[in-house]
Structure formats: structure tokens, C-alpha cells
Amino acid sequence: MAALTDLTIAQAGAGLDKGEFTARELTDAYLTAMEAARSLNAYIEETPERAQTMADASDARRAAGNAAGALDGIPLAIKDLFCTEGALSTAGSHILDGFRPTYESTVTQNLWDSGAVMLGKVNMDEFAMGSANITSHYGPTLNPWKASSGDNAGKDLVPGGSSGGSAAAVAARIAAGATGTDTGGSIRQPGAFCGIVGLKPTYGRCSRWGVIAFASSLDQAGPLARTVEDSALMLEAMASFDPKDSTSVDLPVPSYAAALTGDIRGLRVGVPAEYRMDGTPPEIEALWQKGVDWLRDAGAEIVDISLPHTKYALPAYYIVAPAEASSNLARYDGMRFGLRVDGEDLTETYERTRAEGFGHEVKRRVMIGTYVLSAGYYDAYYLKAQRVRTRIADDFRAAWDSCDVVLTPTTPSSAFTLGEKQDDPIAMYLNDIFTVPASMAGLPAISVPAGLSDVGLPLGLHLIAPAFGEETLLRAAGVLESAAGFTAQP
């Protein structure tokens, strides 16, 4: 039999139901694997005792015939952006030193209600600001993958970000699945870099309540998992209507796994001309073409489409997201929770606390946000960016007249080395060039591992669907996954 930690969520659930092993055995297998993989620095805090208690409770439910569903007894890693009652929740920031919430985020509560087991809290870019997991106060997470050839062969690589710990943990088999959050690509890009599936649902599908806020009009929780089916199972448990989040949408949660019929005959797949950008490596273009061929061979109709404002999504994002962040992060003042650094007076206490508590990238973005919202510049920057955002959403709206999903690459490269792009913010921002437009339009999107690069690193393909089109998105992703037959492991 395969190692317990190699099983997908669906396989593990079946094994638990058949009594082949217990949730406690499954959890213990993960706890042992976590200990052996500490050099990846994927976990900020492991919660082994809680995990064992939750696993034992799951076994008791199952023995009594009361298993809660597909996730009962499944060990998961939780991104440190989710508030978890009594367990460290830091957003990867020094300013939230020692913060142990006295409440539970809606998404994690939904998971626990579904019987899932918490293995611990995983590393991330500070306040979800980054694409390499290098801005965390707890140090970088390493990608479990290494290049097999080329200049970077054998070197430490980044797992992507901001949900870098989540992606590394799932890829390294030290979690069966993980929660992530995606503001501009923070689930999909690390998913692609680590060779796993990353799903960002429609804005409003998963509650943001109890998720530490970065950019409120963009933030959305979603799963990172090893298969499309596992992603569907996790999303079904995570999604809900939540009166505590005023942007949560009151729509029933369908059975996402049931949408994986494998049948996409007649599905219209849009291929946007504007995603063919100068400087995209030929291997990315070639993989994209393979994706087109796979979907066509499965009976889809390929449609050339235009999303004219694609190139403006990223610069508009770097106005909107920092503006919202500067406002959201105003709460970290050292008075009610987290770090406090004393100054001569109140204002200096604020200033010293925030100077010491925030890392460089967070400070930079808070300052950009403060500037673009300040008197005299608000119209030129912030309102302009919000108008461009309307244009981007309109592009997609028009595209849905001629297609049902859009296919693009997930990232313009495979995982890069630790330290690369560190001193050039814009080079780092460009990681999200293919993922940000869907974020700006609030649309659901998924990255599916689709192949290996020339140097043996995973590459992802990216599908985007209309709002609340998760079932179509997952169905198409399932077909892509089967056709790609990606079985490589770190």
C-alpha cells in the first residue's frame, strides 16, 4: 500500500470509510512527515495535540456512523492569515507577535464542522503581500521541488506566494490539503510553482470573516490540493453564505465534486490574444498550446477572444490593493493586540510600533496606498485605477458572449531561486501578470499542474470562468488534469 501521506483527500476519505486505517493513523503519519520536513519551514506553528484530538473525535464519529462527509478525518494545513481560536495567527508579521484569536474564522469553522483535522498554521508572505514567500517574519518557505538541470540545478527555490507555505506543504505531502487566500494570484501562482491545484473562487463565495484583511475588495479564500477533485471537495466545505461578511453571497453551495463529469463537449474555450506577451518563454507558450489541443481533443470548441485591457490589470492592482491595505492595516497600532514599541508619546509609539512591526514590502505598500488616497492624488490614482478596473471587468463580460471559460498560462515562469527578484519590486509583481485580471474582475479561476519545464520544474495552466461558474471551471480543469496526466512529484 502507498504511504498514507501519498493518498489524495478522496482516496483517504474512501480508506477511512472502509476502515483500512483510522483518522488518528492518518494524522500521525502527517505529523511524522511534518517533523521530517521542517527544513522547508512550511509551518509557522504545528498543532499536533489539537490534530490528534480532532482525529480521535473523527474516528469516534465514524465508528458511531455519524461521519460528517468527505473531509471527516482529513488533515489540513491552514494559512496563517486565518484566525484560529487559541492557535497562533500572525499573517506572517512581526506586528502580530503572539496573537491568539479568541474566535474562529468562518472558513476554518466550516472545515472543522466538516470533520477536518488541523495540522497547524502555515507560512506566508507578510499580510499576503508577495509572490515568493520571502517577506514572512518567520523566514522563507522553500519549494520542495528542485531543478534537475540548468544554472539553478539543486538550488533552493521559492514556493511562490503569498500562500507559499500552503502550497509547499501540500506538494511535500505534509498536509493533504491546505487553505489559501488569493488577492492577485496568491493561491494560483504558488499552486503552479509547487505542481499542485490552486483554486480561487468567485469573490463572495467564501466568507472573509476572520481572515486577516489585505485588500478587502479582492481577498478570497480557496483551497490548495493535489487534485481537481480534492479542490472541489474542499471548496464545498469552505464555501457558505455568511451574514458576518457583508460581501458574502447568498447562493446555495452546489456539489462541486458532482460537476466533474469529464464531459466538456461543446464547451467554448476562449484563448485571449493579449496574454501572448513579449518575453514569455517558449516553453510556457508551448504548454499553453498543449492545453488548447487537450481541450479541443476532448470536444471543446476553441475561440479566439480579446481582453483588451489585460496589460493594465497589474498596474491598476498596484493602486487598488495598496490603497485598501493602507486602510486595513491602520488597525495595527500597538494598542489592542500584537507588538507595542514604546515611544516618547502616543504618536511616536504608533510610529515605532509600525516601523518595527511591519516588514519592508508591507511598509512600501502601505505608503503607496496612503499616498494614492491622500488629498489631491485620490482622483489621479485611485479613482483612475477603479475606472480601469471597470474596463477590465467589462472585457470579461464581453468575452462571455463568445466563450464559457478562458484558458491561459498561470505564470510567466517556473519557480525561481531564493533571492532572485528580491530587490526589484516590479519584477516580483510581474509574477502575477496572468492571474491578476481575474482577481480584478472577481472571477473564479484555477491553476492545474500541466507539465514540467525544461529544467524539470512544474508549470500550471490557468482557467477562468464567469462569476459563480465554479462547476464549469472545475469540470474543464478536471479534463485538463486528465489530459496532462501530471504525476511528477518533488
Binding site: F99, R100, P101, T102, Y103, T202, Y203, G204, S217, L218, T247, V249, D250, Y312, P315, A316, Y318, S326, A330, G334, M335, R336, F337, G338, L339, R340, D342, G343, D345, L346, T347, E348, T349, E351, R354, A355, F358, K363, R364, V366, M367, I368, T370, Y371, S374, Y377, A380, L383, K384, A385, Q386, R387, V388, R389, T390, R391, A393, P425, M440, A467
Partner: protein, 95 residues
């Protein structure tokens, strides 16, 4: 619209982030680099485009005006850097 160090100082003050004098100039360069890059947005014709206020096409819900929470003082204070007698302790606000 390049930022000078005085403007950076003013932004830092507004953001309540202490920045050492020596760091103002390099920070100005970094911010100008980013702001210069976003200026490409000026190429976009946005005449007639409303600024987006909500990405979800939804009507804002109203909730019932009822007390649904409360009586959790100790939980609210649980993470305070300093607390005494059921209050947050903060530096003197009024001189």
C-alpha cells in the same frame, strides 16, 4: 509627479510609520519607481467608465438592528499588550 523626500516624510507621518532620515531618499526612489510604472494607466481611455465600487453584482444587504454579540470583555482584552482592571492601558493621549 516624482516624490521628493519631504513628501515621503509626509506620507510616512500620515501612515504612522517611522522612517529614519537616511532611508527617506532610497524609499523615495522605490516609491517613484512603482508610481512611474503605474502611470501607464494614463493610456487607458476611461471616459464614461464608472469607478468600480463592488466587484460582485449584488445589492447591499441590510441586517436586523439587533444586539447579537457582547459580554466578551475578557476575550477582547486577551491579546492586549497591556491591560488593567478590564481596560486597555495606552500611553497618555492628552497632555
Amino acid at each position: 509627479m516624482a516624490l521628493d523626500t519631504d513628501t515621503v516624510k509626509r506620507i510616512a507621518r500620515l501612515a504612522r510609520i517611522h522612517v529614519d532620515e537616511a532611508d527617506l531618499a532610497p524609499l523615495a526612489d522605490e516609491l517613484n519607481n512603482i508610481l512611474g510604472w503605474v502611470e501607464q494607466l494614463d493610456e487607458v481611455d476611461t471616459d464614461g467608465a464608472e469607478p468600480m465600487t463592488s466587484v460582485a453584482e449584488m445589492v447591499q444587504r441590510l441586517r436586523v438592528d439587533a444586539v447579537t454579540d457582547g459580554d466578551v470583555r475578557d476575550r477582547v482584552l486577551a491579546n492586549a499588550p497591556m491591560e488593567a482592571d478590564g481596560f486597555f492601558v495606552v500611553p497618555k493621549v492628552i497632555e
